[in-house]
């Protein structure tokens, strides 16, 4: 893989030049308001996939069928009328009410159209916590999904390297942001410390992960020249 020959930055609002300049919204209602036009477009493009749509504080939440998340996100990313080119976050919500299902949330932003869309998928009770990974569309989803897996235990099907990112690899007390996780952890302090000290902080990181050699083709030319001359960085 090599870097693209020329890189054209996306100017915000470039796809809708006739639209008025953005202003800070005033008196935004809690419920209701103008929905993001992408919500209706998803419903038209994927019949039966949209569970419901709501507008809260001026932002549009679209609840979708979790099995079709990847198709929808890919379409939102690729379609010239949507162009959601930035995934700002992947996270999850667990409610204190045990009856309420867990939600996985994707925050999508379209720079060319100046749109923000929040996709949500509900994970029904009693079923495995698994949703499709959007890693094949946004490479930036890699660490976001790993964090979501680490903290909530939600598996992202199709993620190439789904492992813990905040807690260490050998951590097996559970997933800390779940409601049934005690704040101080499950083990005694001495046991937690024993396990933490037994962990080798360098065990999981291979040289491939730490070296720049693999990324050599992707880095800018001047950096390539400097590295080829033997310059060392980061030491």
């Amino acid at each position: 893989m090599s870097a693209p020959a020329s890189f054209t930055p996306v100017m915000p609002g470039s796809a809708a030049p006739e639209a008025p300049a953005p202003t800070t919204p005033k008196r935004v209602p809690n419920r209701g308001g103008t929905p993001n036009p992408s919500a209706a477009a998803i419903a038209a493009q994927f019949p039966g996939a949209v569970v419901r749509t709501e507008v809260i504080w001026g932002e549009t939440n679209v609840y979708v069928d979790r099995a079709r998340v990847l198709d929808i996100v890919r379409w939102l990313h690729d379609d010239p009328s949507q162009r959601y080119d930035y995934l700002s976050d992947v996270t999850a919500v667990e409610f204190r009410d045990p009856e309420q299902p867990m939600q996985v949330v994707w925050h999508l932003r379209s720079l060319p159209y100046r749109r923000f869309l929040r996709l949500k998928a509900e994970l029904p009770k009693g079923e495995p916590l698994e949703v499709p990974s959007v890693w094949s569309v946004y490479k930036g989803a890699d660490w976001l999904e790993r964090e979501c897996y680490d903290m909530f235990g939600i598996r992202f099907a199709g993620h190439a390297d789904l492992r813990r990112i905040l807690m260490w690899e050998q951590y097996h007390e559970g997933h800390p942001l779940r409601k049934d996780f005690p704040l101080r952890g499950r083990f005694s302090r001495a046991e937690q410390l024993r396990q933490a000290l037994a962990a080798n902080p360098e065990a999981r990181y291979s040289m491939e992960e730490l070296t720049i050699a693999q990324a050599f083709e992707d880095i800018p030319e001047d950096m390539q020249r400097r590295l080829a001359k033997g310059e060392r960085t980061g030491e």
Partner: protein, 208 residues
């Protein structure tokens, strides 16, 4: 022909005009005096305490007055580890390894509430006091401590260094952790040390 009288070795003569300078002292005092006034700190800054530590090292408070202006970012040339900030469990083996890499004689200052006791982070991720990982000489309270507070801790450490006796070999022995658990102190002691302070039990179990 006659024999020279043997010089009297019990008497030392000193001629002020010769400008010879010399000093008589105890070895303990000399070594401790030089050690205490040239402590090279290894800053282990993980949080806001490190900002105060930087302020301490900067020109206004001027750590150089204590012979500490040379920050040793390599543990192998360091004398005193200043742990400034909270230490999560994931960082515990790193801190322990840095401590083990420091050569004797070495000391440790635990700066701030989080490093000393876990502070407000009584949760699953944070070590409840670095004294459960490495031996600590001076605890500096505060959240974060002001530079004056840290300097007071440093002066206490200097006092401690100046009172050491070279004959006491026990002082400079490396403490080996227990091979099975990897802990310095018994697990019961760690659990007792990590007991929540005050009413924090009720804060975390609010009944909601």
């Amino acid at each position: 022909m006659g024999l020279m009288p043997r010089p009297d070795t019990t008497v030392t003569t000193y001629d002020p005009a010769s400008h010879e300078s010399w000093i008589a002292t105890r070895l303990d005092f000399l070594v401790n005096w030089s050690r205490a006034n040239s402590l090279w700190p290894m800053p282990f800054g993980t949080a806001c305490c490190a900002i105060e530590f930087m302020a301490t090292a900067a020109s206004r408070f001027d750590l150089a007055r204590f012979g500490m202006e040379r920050m040793s970012f390599s543990p192998r040339q360091a004398d005193v580890l200043i742990c400034a900030g909270r230490v999560p469990f994931k960082l515990a083996p790193v801190l322990r390894r840095i401590w083990q890499q420091m050569p004797q004689p070495k000391w440790c200052i635990s700066m701030g509430a989080c490093a000393s006791s876990g502070g407000m982070f009584d949760n699953y991720a944070v070590v409840q006091g670095i004294d459960t990982i490495i031996p600590v000489d001076v605890y500096v309270p505060g959240c974060p401590p002001r530079p004056e507070g840290l300097m007071y801790g440093i002066m206490l450490l200097q006092e401690k260094v100046k009172r050491e006796r070279m004959g006491d070999t026990r002082l400079r022995q490396e403490i080996e952790p227990d091979p099975t658990s990897g802990l310095y102190i018994p697990p019961q002691a760690i659990d007792e040390l990590s007991e929540p302070f005050g009413n924090s039990v009720h804060q975390t179990r609010s009944g909601l």
